[in-house]
Symmetry: C2
């Protein structure tokens, strides 16, 4: 196993950081790494907002559900789907690009582009000995986040990444069995086998929680997922993304 | 600069591969790397289909617009947004999860999850000396791709990654200037400066194409983007994703 794969396999979310800011050089290496990712037809449909301002970080932390590590970290990156520059390009080049920009296809392209870039940033940061945590919680209140970060229409802040020097390292969470996620040549739609695999995985996860909490937490993955998915959260999203001119047609 | 960041910054798409298949061990390292990526609230909302069957690869290549490297490579991975297993979980746990699974929010979660996993896979493959190319072309005809790969509802094949031993290495395409993509504390919505940056970048891209094609191709980035975005492609996507029960509410 090479060092790159070691770095990738060693990932765990870090939620507790030292009080130490990233340097300009570190930030630039992380952003350059993000930009090196593949991009659909060279479209580069994303932007990154680095948040360092203490008031803004505090506000973001509140909006994300009072997660302290959104405020207390070495640097906070917000990854955005971005077709605003492509709207400008339409005007510069005198081309009618509106229908395309508002299509579900380009919504997908922008989400995928931003995510590929973000994962490069995450791996780059981890390779420097930094810890990271993705923050989907910024999608709890996107209108307020957009106001705070002054994003124009055709830009959606998708998630944050808190980066910094780890002050506490936790265990890795075991993933679904490889055979459950990886299919050969076609999707193995065998419901019985699928449920058997999930039951097996439930045992792994129960053991993980029990060991981690010294017997305090007893939970399975399917129970955790069932409870989470039963709650209807962020149901405003469809209207919101259409309101900023994505995913409309 | 460490080896991980070197690997990341050295990325270029490879579209020509030796006739040499990946080993089972290589495939498993790539898939395990994908699974190590962060996942929103531990939801693991993706699947990977590894395609090795020559007939299926040939068919996929045709569907993706006759891209030979979809057929001729060491292994072809299809990354899918997947909430099918979460539908099963709803039944296993007797929870009503339908509204959540059909929300735009969970459509975004599944796209982001699949993309983070894919980029880990891409970096892992590149770290082994393999080349990769993302294939968005499978979205040209998704219904046929779904039939070929036998995916159930709540699964969307998003893109492929062709992986293999490179037989031809091309130059890297220069990315947008860092300051154009990276904003500090808030989105720098200064249209004039934005357009200046795009004009600067156009010069870089013109020089790149001229050097690469010995003067044969003269193009700018904004012209290329304007032409691409004027064409209305994959406009069936909204209806398609709703038809497989994503992005409906």
């Amino acid at each position: 196993m090479n060092t790159v794969i070691e770095t990738i396999l060693n990932h765990r979310s870090v939620r507790s950081f030292e009080d130490r800011r990233l340097t300009k050089e570190q930030i630039e290496q992380i952003v350059s790494s993000a930009q090196a990712a593949s991009t659909s037809s060279f479209i580069q449909a994303y932007s990154i907002i680095g948040v360092d301002d203490p008031d803004k970080k505090k506000k973001l932390s509140e909006l994300a559900g009072n997660q302290s590590y959104v405020e207390e970290n070495g640097h906070f990156f917000v990854f955005c789907a971005d077709l605003y520059r492509h709207e400008l390009i339409g005007r510069m080049e005198n081309k009618d690009v509106e229908e395309t920009l508002e299509s579900t296809e380009k919504f997908m392209v922008a989400l995928i582009d931003a995510s590929l870039a973000a994962q490069n940033a995450a791996i780059a940061a981890e390779s420097m000995g930094l810890g990271i945590c993705y923050i989907g919680g910024i999608r709890n209140h996107l209108e307020e986040v957009c106001n705070l970060l002054k994003t124009p229409k055709r830009v959606i802040p998708l998630f944050g990444i808190a980066v910094g020097y780890p002050s506490k390292i936790v265990d890795q969470k075991p993933r679904l069995p490889l055979q459950h996620v990886y299919h050969e040549n076609e999707y193995q739609q065998n419901e019985e086998e699928y449920i058997n695999q999930l039951n097996e995985y439930n045992k792994t996860i129960s053991e993980y929680y029990e060991a981690r909490t010294a017997g305090q937490r007893s939970d399975t993955w399917t129970n955790q997922m069932g409870n989470m998915l039963e709650r209807k959260t962020r149901m405003y999203m469809k209207e919101f993304v259409e309101g900023v001119n994505f995913n409309k047609r």
